[in-house]
């Protein structure tokens, strides 16, 4: 990333005011209403430090949850939930029959780490399911849940094909990542992408960041990592079932299921018409059977 010249204006360690359009200096992107923004998460750069998880909890004032040990390596949050909007998975690659190979490649390549988050789908199924309008698309093309409008019905929970949205047992409302809507409005990049030491989460405009991601895939292929591919960009795994594309997309090196991602997610609304037709057909069938049964008695 080229450092803009105006970065020289802010060299002091302590600043007495907010830097205007700070995201331009920290992420190389100017956050402007009316444009589409999203995350590119490069799992090959994730070192499992969980700085993104902590930054998310700090900024959004989310409580530490799932107290105690999960027994899953360093994964103490377990999954995305109402109180965990960024979740770093630790997946150990095993050999045949689930037994770890004796010989491991250097640099801990037996581990996959991925920072999962709300995908901010282009055609968001959670928005389609919400009866109160609490879920909406922002001026940054992200999906945000308004807490004061949510009535806690929970329809968005099964509608999400990624299992992101969750109802809180504390306040009874649904919660999920807002892509730091308040920070975007202030010209700041999201807390998680700003916190990471390896720049594995990149925020950017959707007319730019997929191109950046495609270049990274080409680079990995040239380095010999032939299995690298993008999940969630148009015409790729994850962007199926009328979702078109995911605003938060990923670079993966294994099958999506390995990362607990669905290979072919779909919109729940696509299943409404077939379900309704099947229900009506069943009712009609029962009516015909009942009519024929009772008419034969006479």
């Amino acid at each position: 990333m080229d450092i803009p010249a105006r970065a020289q204006d802010y060299t002091a360690s302590r600043l007495d005011r907010l830097i205007p359009n700070e995201s331009e200096l920290t992420a190389g992107v100017l956050i402007e209403p009316g444009k589409s923004y999203g995350f590119f998460t490069d799992t090959t750069l994730c070192i499992g430090c969980k700085a993104c998880e902590v930054a998310c909890k700090e900024w959004n004032n989310l409580p530490a949850d799932n107290l105690g040990l999960t027994g899953q390596s360093y994964d103490n949050t377990g999954a995305l939930s109402a109180n965990t909007w960024r979740h770093v998975s630790f997946i150990e690659k095993s050999g045949a029959c689930g037994v770890r190979d004796n010989d491991q490649a250097p640099f801990q390549s037996g581990w996959l780490m991925m920072s999962d988050v709300c995908k901010h789908c282009h055609n968001a199924p959670c928005i389609e399911a919400c009866p109160t309008g609490a879920l909406f698309k922002t001026e940054f093309d992200t999906v945000v849940l308004q807490q004061d409008i949510c009535n806690g019905c929970g329809y968005c929970v099964p509608a999400c094909p990624f299992g992101v949205v969750d109802l809180s047992t504390l306040d009874g409302k649904a919660h999920k990542c807002t892509l730091c809507y308040d920070r975007l409005k202030g010209g700041l990049e999201p807390a998680c992408s700003k916190a990471g030491p390896t720049d594995r989460i990149q925020v950017g405009a959707l007319n730019d960041v997929p191109r950046r991601a495609a270049r990274r895939v080409e680079q990995l292929h040239a380095m010999g990592a032939e299995s690298a591919y993008l999940y969630g960009v148009p015409d790729s795994p994850g962007a199926t079932g009328d979702l078109v594309h995911l605003n938060a997309f990923f670079l993966l090196t294994e099958r999506p299921e390995t990362y607990n991602l669905p290979a072919a997610p779909t919109r729940a609304s696509n299943r409404v018409a077939p379900s309704l037709a099947a229900g009506l057909a069943a009712v009609a069938g029962l009516a015909v059977a009942a009519f024929s049964l009772f008419s034969s008695r006479d």
Partner: protein
């Protein structure tokens, strides 16, 4: 029911952080029965108003469930 007094320093949706007289910060989640809306919390950090919170510890999280919140000078 426990009570705590202090100043609200951070508000995010229905969650707020209360700094007590010893300077220790505590995280609270607004209960649905608290009789307050999230919008009413938003101005509190700017006002630096002193509030009294009735609460109970929340299960499986490091935080408390606020059952009521009131300005002490009201």
């Amino acid at each position: 029911m426990r009570t705590m007094e202090g100043v609200v320093t951070i508000v995010q949706e229905g969650r707020f952080q209360l700094q007590d007289d010893a300077g220790v910060s505590h995280l609270f989640i607004l209960s649905p029965g608290a009789g307050a809306e999230t919008d009413q919390l938003t101005p509190l950090p700017k006002r630096q108003a002193r509030v009294r919170v009735r609460y109970e510890p929340a299960e499986n999280v490091i935080g408390n469930l606020a059952q009521s919140i009131a300005l002490t000078d009201a």
